[in-house]
Amino acid sequence: MTLSPQLPSVDFSRIGPAVGARFPDVRLPDQTGRLVDLHTERGARRALVVVYRSARW
């Protein structure tokens, strides 16, 4: 008997920064090679941070 694979159930509440916590400092180059400090660039604005798998696959 073969077990068909199952989609693992992930507890996402513990994945990444928690609700209520400050988003960590992130300093990374963008697509133009410019170094971006997320919180500096954000200034006093709200922000949407979209984490995705890859631009390649």
Partner: protein, 268 residues
Amino acid sequence: MELQDAWQALEKRSVAVFALSYDSVEVLAAFAERRGITYPLLSDEGSHTIRAAGLLNEEHLVEQHAFYGIQTRDEQRGVAYPGTFVLDEAGVVTAKYFEQSYRVRPTARIFEEFATGVARPDPSPDAAQASRQGLEVRAWTDAPTYRPYQQVRLHVEMRLAPETHVFASPVPDGYTALSFEVDPLDGLTIGTPELPTPQPFSIAGLQDRFMVYEDTVRTTIPLLFTSNLGSTGITLRVHAQICTPLVCFPPNATRVDVTLNGLDLIRD
């Protein structure tokens, strides 16, 4: 990416947008060029930030791939769990959003709502409509197109004529409760709509108290296509028994058809 479509609206509302992946600057440069992306695509080559932020998918990647019949390649190690974080003015996370299936992608509209906190959209002017016995049903989706594994929301607004009501579940014996049903299709996963809270209702002289809906009822039915079916008709049936204070009509279904155009899954 869908995000570019939402970007202008977000920018107007003073919401900064960042995307983060483990791709190299070169890969991101080509991607941004190809898709016309103007917001920063942050490059976490080596996945140090992804790891430090607790976003590294080490545990579940192979299992998730196996579910879809995919072999995990070496260069895919270091990938993050895809998710969306909403930050307030102080940089504090006010909401985060993940899907069990990494294939499920939010639409531009959902990104916008996340960041702006505006919940349910108003009916679009070209919403499909049907009416019967003074009941009007309008149905529309966030966009006229869908892609496989993109979240598609079918919004429904039902308006009842003044002095009429429909029953909510559980119903008195012999009556029919309001329900929303989408006809099944191969390749379409249909979610359960969340109905608003009904109102108590009693008839003078009768002891029984019922739960009913009056005026306007709005709901959203989550839909997910697992493949591109091309141009597709979605059939919504609103089952309801309309009553006035004096009489209940026989139960009936109001049918509304919404057509959606299928697009291919974006793989890059």
